[in-house]
């Protein structure tokens, strides 16, 4: 008879689906590259894609950046957040074609500190955001660039 066979195969399929769900690997994958935020052509759009609705200016984010960068292709930045519980630091360059430059997320005891080198197309405000306690804090510094660094 047809009916019992169909029921059995439906049950079998359901059991397999349940087993697959339980056997899914527990490995945590890195957050996927936030294409929308990195493609955004304005700071406002980048912030929207990052889920940032408000930022609070903070003097506890220490940004070391040159006042004048001779080579826009290599602008050194050093950032340390003194805001307790900082879990992430974001770098944005207002006048770059796509302002969002980097996201750093700290876990398992890593200090809210990062130093790196970025490209700046032209003189611009460099904006640093720190995420702590679900809130976003920000500081910024104007960096003058004598030779732009995004490509001839």
């Amino acid at each position: 008879m047809k009916a019992p066979t169909m029921r059995r195969s439906v049950l079998r399929a359901a059991a397999m689906a349940m087993a697959m769900a339980i056997l899914r690997p527990l490995r945590v994958l890195a957050a996927p590259w936030n294409k929308a935020a990195f493609d955004a052509k304005s700071v406002a759009d980048a912030l929207k894609s990052l889920g940032v609705t408000a930022t609070e200016d903070s003097d506890k984010i220490a940004l070391k950046a040159p006042e004048i960068a001779e080579n826009g292709a290599i602008v050194p930045l050093e950032i340390a957040s003194g805001i307790p519980g900082t879990v992430a630091i974001y770098i944005l360059v207002d006048k770059n074609p796509q302002p969002l430059t980097a996201i750093f997320e700290f876990t398992n005891g890593t200090e809210a500190f990062v130093a790196t080198r970025i490209k700046m197309a032209e003189s611009s405000r460099v904006r640093i955001m720190a995420k702590a306690g679900g809130k976003f804090y920000a500081t910024a510094q104007e960096v003058k660039v004598t030779i732009g660094g995004c490509g001839p």
């Binding site: 945590v28 890195a30 957050a31 590259w33 936030n34 990195f38 292709a73 290599i74 602008v75 050194p76 050093e78 360059v93 770059n96 796509q98 969002l100 430059t101 980097a102 996201i103 750093f104 997320e105 700290f106 876990t107 398992n108 005891g109 890593t110 200090e111 500190f113 990062v114 130093a115 790196t116 080198r117 970025i118 490209k119 700046m120 660094g149 995004c150 490509g151 001839p152």
Partner: protein, 104 residues
């Protein structure tokens, strides 16, 4: 084969100060090839992960505005000699590289 990156990790008390120099062109996609005049396609590291003894300590997402041959300095608390630090990246072509160092 050349190493994909150079890692220098210095223990200062229980903090590992990690400095990395990664060899990667970080092409923006805007640069024109000097010979053909055609734009060189974007080729950038998009994700970088660092783990200490298998636990994730840093995750980074990068745009094409991170400089060529990226330099990165970060500090991990709670580190000690013998700990394994693994740094790996994936770029927009799906290419990957990683390197492990043992803290001393």
């Amino acid at each position: 084969m050349a190493d994909p990156m150079k890692i220098r990790a210095q223990l200062k008390g229980d903090v590992a100060d990690v400095k990395i120099l990664i060899f990667h062109p970080m092409e923006t996609g805007l640069r024109k090839d000097a010979v053909t005049g055609q734009p060189v396609p974007m080729h950038i590291i998009q994700n970088l992960t660092a783990t200490l003894n298998g636990k994730t300590v840093l995750e980074a997402q990068w745009s094409q505005a991170v400089s060529k041959n990226p330099f990165l300095n970060f500090r991990v608390r709670g580190a000690k000699a013998g700990d394994k630090l693994l740094v790996g990246w994936v770029d927009n072509r799906g290419e990957k590289a990683s390197m492990e160092t043992i803290l001393t």
